[in-house]
Amino acid sequence: MSSVIVTRGLVKQFGRVRAVDGIDLDVGAGDVYGFLGANGSGKTTTVRMLLGLVLPTRGEVELLGQRMPRAGRRVLPRVGALVEGPAHHRHLSGAANLALLDAAGPGGRRRDRRRRIAEVLDQVGLGGVGRRPVGAYSLGMRQRLGLAGALMRRPELLVLDEPTNGLDPQGIAEVRELLLDLHRGGTTVFLSSHLLAEVEQLCSRVGVLDRGRMVLQDEMTRLTAPTGATVVETPEPGRVRAVLDGRVLAASGERVVVRGADPAEVNALLVGAGVPVTGLALQRPTLEEVVLAAAGTSADRVERA
């Protein structure tokens, strides 16, 4: 699998503040990559360096196999981006905004521009918006228009920074469907977000940023792999402890965590002893637990440095 985004030892220093401190990103073709981190952890600065807006202090960026920012003119027309919220000319209509942006750079053919604008507006659910100026749009509509702008040239790579910001729950679900749809069509998606739930539902690969450092980068399936324990739900947690003495790792209310990666075996033991079992599942860490654990350890590292 070829890499779509690669960074090596990426550093950005703003004055005395080191916003990004040695990031090695690796996003493969066909990934839906979730780029997580608290506000101020360096996500946006990294995204801006990917797109050539901010110039790295040290380190290198490769986008679609070519060095940025040098190859920007060749590479960026194949990339769709939404950075830190949408921005448009307020007195012009959505379609006029898209047309101007499309005409402002290479790779946007004039001949089929109107058709492409109509297509992307339909795609993001703004097909009927007409000639209303963007100033009269709601925040959600602007977000959709920003997304439409990113899709104008059928990009191979989408770099999206908080794409569901300002959308209502239905809108968020729509955007998720749209992104999954594009992904099935072969688009690589790089999604920067602080919404763990959004990333958990969408992404196949996750990178976690904490205070400018990458503290975690792995496949989602591996991060949330079973821990080797089984979660038992029972109205009589006390009797579980009696039957499976020494195997109980934790218990809270009607929920007991038992060592053993085979729920069937745990179930057989409990039922054999006459303990009522109302629920049974392999224990998996949530993304939130993974991220909090990873970000926690890095805080110490930064302090020592």
């Binding site: 703003f14 600065t45 801006r48 797109l51 050539g52 807006l53 901010v54 110039l55 920007g72 003119r73 960026l76 027309p77 990339v79 981006a81 950075v83 830190e84 919220g85 949408p86 921005a87 448009h88 000319h89 307020r90 007195h91 012009l92 006029a96 101007l100 942006l101 005409a103 402002a104 750079g105 290479p106 702008g149």
Partner: protein, 269 residues
């Protein structure tokens, strides 16, 4: 890219409001002159105004002379200061650069759009001046009178008017270069426009100060009104040529600085 910037400039309501406001002052002056018949004495007040009562065809030049010292530079400073900083403030700059528009191309396109604004504004002021002048005063289609008192044919007058419009445009290009340079330094269009205006105010002030006479020949506003010399007979080229050369130096240096700054700048807006 240039087309995109021109389209943005002239589809913007503010552009036309500015041009309309710029035209209001000369029209007001013309109406007052017409009502009172009190023209400034020759040699006083704005150039050409004293001659307007006898020949309305000179009013375009009077109109330019009225807006040139203050109104036009303010408009150009605002528009050029807005060029890059306005996009930065609105957030559209990052999308333009990620499109990618190319930083050098964008800067050139912005400069061309500001220049187009200057030319359109100057031409509209001259045209409105001509209409006002011929409607309100007796126009003498057969030529006019030069500032030196000799008479000019209609062709001569028209040709010299065109030259004057060009000269004013070049003078304003100097202002635009200041505005554009400051516009690459800040994300605030207001700060960029104020920066350019501060330069012009300083320059105008130093020009009147005897103690500043050693630097006077290098002040950006020094030769602004030299377009009057184009209507002398024969044309007095000295100040016009110096004015063009001076603006050329300012424009060259400032645009180079703007380019050097903008192409190496972190866009964090």
């Amino acid at each position: 890219m240039i087309g995109v910037e021109l389209s943005k400039m002239f589809r913007r309501p503010r552009t036309w409001t500015t041009i309309a406001v710029l035209n209001a002052l000369p029209v007001l002056v013309a109406v007052l002159l017409r009502l009172t018949d009190l023209a400034p004495r020759p040699g006083e007040g704005p150039p050409f105004l004293s001659a307007v009562l006898t020949n309305g065809a000179l009013f375009p030049l009077a109109a330019l002379a009225i807006v040139l010292p203050l109104f036009l530079p303010i408009a150009v400073a605002v528009v050029s200061g807005d060029a890059v900083a306005g996009e930065a403030q609105a957030g559209t700059l990052r999308y333009l650069l990620a499109r990618p528009a190319g930083r050098t191309r964008l800067l050139v396109a912005k400069l061309v759009a500001v220049l187009a604004f200057v030319v359109v504004t100057v031409v509209v002021v001259a045209a409105v001046g001509f209409v006002t002048g011929t409607l309100l005063f007796d126009a003498q289609p057969v030529g006019g009178t030069s500032v030196s008192g000799t008479s000019l044919t209609q062709e001569e007058l028209a040709g010299r008017t065109l030259l004057a419009i060009g000269y004013v445009a070049v003078s304003m290009l100097g202002v635009a270069a200041f505005g554009l340079f400051f516009s690459t330094l800040t994300d605030s269009p207001l700060a960029a426009a104020l920066g350019a205006l501060a330069v012009l105010v300083t320059s105008s002030l130093l020009f009147t100060l005897d103690a500043a006479s050693p630097v006077a020949p290098y002040l950006p506003t020094r030769y602004w009104l030299a377009f009057v010399d184009l209507f002398r007979d024969p044309v007095l080229w000295r100040d016009v040529v110096r004015g063009l050369a001076l603006q050329g130096v300012y424009v060259g240096v400032l645009l180079t600085a703007a380019w050097a700054n903008f192409t190496t700048k972190d866009v964090t807006s």
